[in-house]
């Protein structure tokens, strides 16, 4: 089944990411997953949310440029070779993967998000002070077996 992904244009500057996220949070719209594509000057925030039409209207009304793209969400077993099996299936069909991003779900039913920071050590310090669990630093969550 196809889902509507929202792409939001962001300038590459501090705080640019927080504004759309705050807007969605206030409206009670949950972000199911996201990815960030970035260059030196700008970024594209790609979002999959619960109510994409409501989210698009909200963001556009608040001055964001938003593009809607249809994406396909697939379930893969969380074990080695899960992604490879999909790619194998596509091989030879001429279908090109433009971009992809992923998340896994833990037993506690939490999303695991991946960030790239320009200064990871400083970021970890800040986040730990805020009581945020850093995966891989302390209490790494156990993975569920399929």
């Amino acid at each position: 089944m196809k889902l509507k992904q929202l792409s939001v244009f962001l300038e590459n500057k501090p705080g640019a990411l927080s504004e759309p996220c705050r807007l969605l949070a206030k409206a009670g719209i949950s972000i199911q997953t996201f990815s960030l594509a970035d260059t030196r000057e700008f970024g594209i925030l790609r979002l999959v949310v619960e109510d994409s039409d409501k989210a698009r209207r909200l963001l556009q009304r608040n001055g964001f440029a938003v593009k809607v793209t249809k994406v396909v969400v697939l379930e893969v077993p969380d074990r080695p070779g899960g992604l490879a099996a999909i790619l194998d299936a596509l091989e030879g069909t001429g279908i090109n993967v433009k971009y992809a991003y992923g998340f896994t779900v833990t037993r506690e039913n939490k999303g695991v998000l991946v960030f790239c920071f320009d200064d990871p050590d400083a970021a970890i310090q800040v986040l730990q002070k805020q009581g945020i669990n850093i995966v891989g630093v302390a209490n790494r969550p156990k993975r569920t077996k399929p």
Binding site: E11, D38, T39
Partner: protein, 441 residues
């Protein structure tokens, strides 16, 4: 600490600069009648406007009657692109120059053989006025090609008998090397570029004050007395202001003499008037207004009462040099929104046309002009809209490139193009601020 130069004997072509006023006015009126008749006979647009006013060339009784004639504006040249303003058949036209217009279409100027000879003579008189003579080595760093600056200065300097180095613009290190190795005595370029040459030479461990260079012929962009002082202190040369515009002929419309008190207009060839740009009424000498020029000799493309948009005044007081030619005061601003960037004319409407071409609708944009290392920079900010947004980086980078190419195709200037988020460009009273010129002249 200016370097000393011997004052050369007067060049024969400069004799006209000193014509007694009564004689000068006589020459002007004879030539005005000739050029108005020529435009009336061969340029449909001019004839139509004369007929609308129920005027015939024969109605000109004195020089003062010039105020009855219709104006010519830059858009006339665009609207009649490319040959509509020509008063000569193509068989007699031997050269074209092209400069940017107010929108997509450029402006074409045409010259007959006689026109080129006249232009060369105006440049000879210009160079001679500031003391250039045969034996000088002239480094011509104005751009060669469609721009009138390069070839105009080139032929003038050659005809004067100087030795010309046709180096054109750019490649500053090589400019400095040739300047030193050839013992260059005169340079022609934009004043901002020469400031850059001074800085670059210092970085290379060289001092222009120790070189034979002693005269700079600077034009193609507005500059100030402060820049003149910086140039003269930093290089030990004398910096002279030359004025011209492609629509009239190119460089050589007016030039400063060694007294450096504003360019003398070569009035026997280019008749000046000052008008109020709002009411279009003629103003007295000394009053500030828009400069209007009539080409008294130009055969291929006569310009009758051409509105230059340059704001200045005519100085009636006789110069100490003895020339009877009136002077214009330094041009600091224009009556329209035209920017001059690296000697190239740029209108915001050109940027609009370029953006519209790519996007279909006009996005919010802002033009930021700055000057770095003596060279003008052009940055264009464009707000991203829902319609043009891509979900991939390569898609947005392609948009960026297409916008930049479109601007370059129309203006000839390569911009740094930056995509910005919607509603980030500063708006005042609901209207976006289109142009920010950070250059400090």
């Amino acid at each position: 600490m200016t370097k000393n130069r011997e004052i050369p004997p007067m060049h024969p072509d400069s004799a006209v600069d000193f014509l007694p006023l009564s004689q000068l006015r006589g020459v002007q009126f004879t030539r005005l009648k000739f050029i108005v008749q020529r435009a009336y006979d061969h340029v449909a647009l001019f004839r139509k406007r004369m007929e609308e006013r129920k005027l015939k060339p024969g109605d000109l009784r004195t020089m003062d009657d010039i105020v009855k004639l219709p104006f010519t504006v830059k858009t006339d040249l665009r609207d009649t692109y490319p040959y509509g303003m020509a008063a000569s058949p193509l068989q007699e036209i031997v050269r074209f120059h092209v400069s940017s217009g107010t929108t997509g279409k450029p402006i074409v100027v045409a010259y007959t053989k006689e026109d080129l000879d006249d232009w060369t003579r105006a440049m000879v008189r210009s160079l001679a006025a500031c003391g250039v003579h045969s034996g000088d080595i002239v480094q011509n760093a104005y751009g060669y090609g469609l721009f009138t600056g390069g070839l105009g200065a080139h032929y003038g300097a050659e005809a004067l008998g100087a030795s010309v180095i046709p180096i054109s613009g750019g490649n500053t290190d090589r400019q400095i090397m040739l300047m030193k190795d050839f013992g260059v005595t005169v340079i022609c370029c934009t004043p901002s570029y020469f400031l850059h040459i001074i800085e670059r030479a210092a970085e290379m461990g060289m001092d222009i004050r120790e070189m034979p260079l002693s005269i700079g012929v600077f034009g193609a962009e507005p500059w100030t007395e402060d820049m003149r002082e910086r140039i003269e202190a930093g290089s030990g040369i004398k910096a002279y202001d030359i004025y011209g515009l492609s629509e009239i002929v190119g460089p050589g419309v007016a030039m400063e003499c060694t007294h450096q008190v504003g360019p003398h207009i070569f009035e026997d060839m280019f008749y000046p008037e000052i008008i109020d740009p709002k009411t279009l009424e003629p103003l007295e000498d000394g009053a500030e207004g828009e400069l209007v020029l009539t080409t008294l000799c130009k055969r291929a493309m006569p310009m009758i009462r051409y509105r230059t948009r340059d704001i200045t005044s005519l100085e009636p007081a006789r110069c100490a040099c003895g020339r009877t030619l009136r002077r214009i005061h330094r041009i600091g601003r224009r009556s329209d929104d035209m920017l001059i960037i690296r000697g190239v004319n740029l209108f915001p409407s050109q940027i609009e046309a370029a953006l519209l071409k790519v996007e279909g609708t006009l996005p919010h944009y802002q033009i930021i002009v700055d000057r770095q290392k003596g060279l003008d920079t052009l940055e264009v900010l464009v707000e991203v809209t829902n319609e043009v947004l891509s979900d991939t980086v390569s898609g947005l980078e392609q948009l960026q490139k297409r916008l930049a190419h479109s601007i370059e195709a129309i203006t000839g200037l390569h911009p740094a193009l930056k995509l910005v988020a919607p509603r980030t460009i500063q708006r005042s009273e609901g209207k976006a601020k289109r142009v920010i010129d950070k250059r400090i002249l």
